[in-house]
Structure formats: C-alpha cells, structure tokens
Amino acid sequence: MTNPLNWFSQVVAVTGFSLQTIVNRKGSSAATVIGIAGVVAVLVGVLSIAKGFRKAMTVSGSPNTAIVMRSGADSEMMSGLSRDETRVIADAPGVARASGGPAASAELFVIIDLPKRSTGTDANVPLRGVEPAAFDVRRELKVVAGRKFEPGKNEIIIGQGAAIEFAGLDLGKTIRVGQNDWAIVGVFTANGGISESEIWTDAAVLQPAYRRGDTYQSVYARLTSPEAFDAFKNALTTDPRLNVKVLRQADYYADQSTLVYNLITGLGTLVAGLMGLGALFGALNTMYTAVSSRTREIATLRALGFRAGPVVISVILESIVLAILGGMIGSVGAYLAFDGYRAATINFQSFSQVAFAFEVGPALLIQGMVYAALIGVIGGLFPAIRAARLPIATALREL
C-alpha cells in the first residue's frame, strides 16, 4: 500500500476526471473549440492560397527547360530580343531537336484587359505569342478542347485557368482586343501550371497587332537533358553577339512567385497570429473557468494525496484536447472549403493574373494542428499553475 503509483499514472487519472467534467462546461468549452477552429481555418485557408499560388508557378517548371531573356531583365515584361538574337539562341549547343528544327520558341508577351467572371472588374491577362516549337518545348501542354491555332490567323487558344476566371473566354467565341478580333479555337491544360493562366497565339500575328516589329521578349528552349543547361548557358553568355541571361524555367518561376508568396504568407501569418491571440484569451478564460469551477475537486484530489504536478499537466492536457479538437474542426473545415478552390490573383512581378487552385495539403494541416496545440498549451499553462498553487485548506471549503 505504500508505493505510490508513478507520476504518469496520476496524470492519466486526473486528466481522465478533468476530461469527464468538460460536459459540465459545454458552453465555454464549445466557445474555445469554435474560436480555435476559426483561427486554424483562417491560417490554413490563407496559407493554402500561398501554397496553391506557388504550386501553379512552379509545377510546370521542367528541369530541362530554359528561358533566355535580355541581361538585366527581371521578367519577360522587361526583356527584348531581336529575331537574329533568338536564332543564335535556338542554335546554341544543348538545345533538343524537334521535327521542324530546334526545340526553341521565341516568344513575346503582352497584357490584355479582361473582366473577371467573379467580380466583373478588369484584370491583366497575359497574351503570349509563341512559335510552333512552343508545344514541343512545353510538352505538358495539352489541348483538351477544340484545336491549336493556325499560324498566320487571328486565332487564340486559352488556358483552362484563364477560361474559368475571365469573362468572354469561351471556346468558339471571339474576343476583341485592341483593334483586332480573336477567335477562340482551343482550350489547353498544363498540369495546373502557370501557362494555364495565359492565352496563346501565333507570335507572328501578335507582333504586328501590337506593333512589336520583329522583336521578341524571350526564348524558351527544351534542352537535351537537365545537365545540358550549364553548357547552354555558357555558350550564350560568352557569345559576343548576345547580351542575355539564362535561367532554368523552374528557377525563373520560383523567383517570379516569391513576392506574392511572401506577401500572402506574411499577411496570412499576421492575421492568424492576431486571431490566435484572441483565441488564446478564449482558451485562457475557459481554463480559468474550468479551474475555478473545479477548485474544490482539485483541492480534494490534492488532499487525498494527488500531487500538484499531475494537476498542472491535467489542466494543460485538457486545454490541449479542446485546442486540438478545434484545430481538427478548423483543418477539416478549411480542407472542405478551400482545397481545390480556383481563384486568380495578380502577380506583381509580371503584372499579370495567375489562375491557381488553393491547396490544403498534409503539411498545412499539420501546421494548423501544431498552431492549435500551441494555443492550447499557453491557454492552459497559467490556469494550471493557478490550480497547483491553490492552498488546499482554503480551496476545500470553496463552494
């Protein structure tokens, strides 16, 4: 009879009683659970935007695709290349061969205004002029409805993301951009990547329509292998006829998404942090109430010989259980509400809209649960210390 059970068993026993009393405090416990669920849903929801945006920007970044722009240009918008330059680039070592020649596409890139379907407000949509080899450079691109545009004609094909987001982009319809009408002849996908936010047409048609003369902004090239990149880059950067920068496509898109990704992540964390502070006070209030309403019970347990440590841990565990419950509800809610939700936002680095799907993955769900548990720990800590410090003799007489 004299050997006490170990500390852990006391924790289990006292925590068991604590959890059983939650039903007596349904109101305040539910408020805490719902509060934390809201915080976690917002955190996971906002971060899923950043995650989805980055995924859209980087998913199609094939390791053996390179982009060449004028040296000093941070984006295609700021770049400019002459036809002669694009030919030198296409003939550089390391470029894969396609049926019609090198797998390199000289492209130009303009921004057009189209209203968003959701709000009706104008948004910048990228219209890309490409050469026939573009389809051989970006092999992930598939025309899923209609057909490819015909060279020399005012025809466009639209990315699936753009088709969902922007009004007027319907297969078979015609849109008027500037002085020209453009027939929509096809819809394409690109594994959910950035290209799906774009509209494509023949570069040779787009150049005169936008008075670009015989200039381009970039060359996309498919290399024979990812390892061929260094030789390709060296050849171009040491060629005295060229003044260009060479990037892997994946690196370029990752860099292009940094600003928006950081902005959304930063804002999301800030909002969730502030909301978390509110939820923390909710949890503190609940647990102080729990300790207060159980003052006599806690004192009785301690009078019987239960130690203060297990009481502290039991209060914290109860708080964590409520927080985890809230975290689970918030995570599941965020998953159901946001995962796969399609939206478009401006990418400040390209001044154009990027269509993407929110992505609530396992990592985000774990992040949400960890955040909830953290709120639970802090929310339970101070009430737990109060519970442990209650003078037993005084607390026993509490009503």
Partner: protein
Amino acid sequence: MSENSEILVHVKDVEKVFRRGSEEIHVLAGLDLEVPIGEFLALMGPSGSGKTTLLNLIGGLDRPTRGSVVIQGERIDQLSDRRLAGWRARHVGLVFQLYNLLPVLTAERNVDLPLLLTNLSKADRRKHVETALSVVGLSHRAKHFPRQLSGGEQQRVGIARAIVTDPTLLLCDEPTGDLDRKAGDEILDLLQALNREHGKTIVMVTHDPHASARATRTVHLTKGQLSSEAIA
C-alpha cells in the same frame, strides 16, 4: 492522558498566522494537543476559534507558522509538499462537511480514488472498494453517481473513501454539518463503530454538542487556544 508511546498525534506549541493584506490574523496561539491511538476526539468551538485550522495542520493540509506537528513519530510540518502528499495518501482519511465527491464518478470510483495512489492491482483495489462500501452499508449503491444519492449516503461514500486505504487516522470536518438529525445520527453511529470496532483514531471538528457527545473526549477551542476538555 496516556503514555507517550500511545500518542498518535502530538501538536506542540503551534501557532498559525494568516495574512490578509497587511493584517495578521492569529488563528492558533501556542496550542498543544495530544491524541492517543484509538481515541475519538471532538474539537468544538465557535466560528473562527481555529478548530478547522487545527484539523488541517494535523492532516498535513496546511503548515503551522511556528511549532511542530508530529504524527506517529513523524514530524509532518517539515516534509516537502511532495512527501506530504504521499504521507496524506498513506496515513490519513479525510471526511468533509460537503462530502467533496467527484460528481462525474460513481460511488465506487470515488471510493477507488485514494487507491489509485497505491500499487494495488485492479482486482485488489476492487476488493478494497467493496469492503469499504460494505462497512458503510452502501454496497447496493456502488454504481450510483453522487447526484443520485441522498446527503447521508454521499457522506457514507465519503467515509468509505476515507477508510479504503485503512489509514491510521480519520479526520472529519463537520461530518454531520450538512445533514438532518436522522442522517447525522447514522453517520455518527458509523464513526463510532469505526472507532470502537475497527480501532480507528478519529479527530472530528463539530459545533454540535449532540455530535461531540459520541466522542470519547471533547476539547474546546477559544481564540486559538484549548479552553476546556471533557472526557466521556
């Protein structure tokens, strides 16, 4: 008083001072008390006389400001909080005026609580609980929750919880204070039986002369000091 070897509780020159802001309240002032093994002692006195404070000191629920509390040769006022908790679990059974049962647990699980601090097997714990409930005559109410029991029954569960570890000392704080006369008498019968038939040493705080009449000795406290005593 009995020989020193038979003394279970030895309270010596105990002083207890509570602070309320800058005010000092002297609840016990140089009090001495000895309780022999097997005694049923009633502590009486008006409100604020210090009788519950004295009981708490004997039970290791509080510490004296000065003086010593020795139980069965062990000076408990000098034990650490952790060791004192263990000491309470092994040596003291507590009976409270408001029963202090956990409302979410059945009668048998309430009685089982102190046994969770022992290394008894589940089967042994069950036997102890059954025995304790049968001693207080509540075997048939084992599965009931406190809210399903009368006040007298709840107090009997409280007593079963106090005796389930077979402690040396039973400390009762106004055990009949919240009960009607009939239920109170039943509780006093039970305490008397535990004292006479099971040899439990009992210290009971009460303000009710009817209750103190069941004790083998009654001491009165006035302003933190023993003022008189009567032996039954």
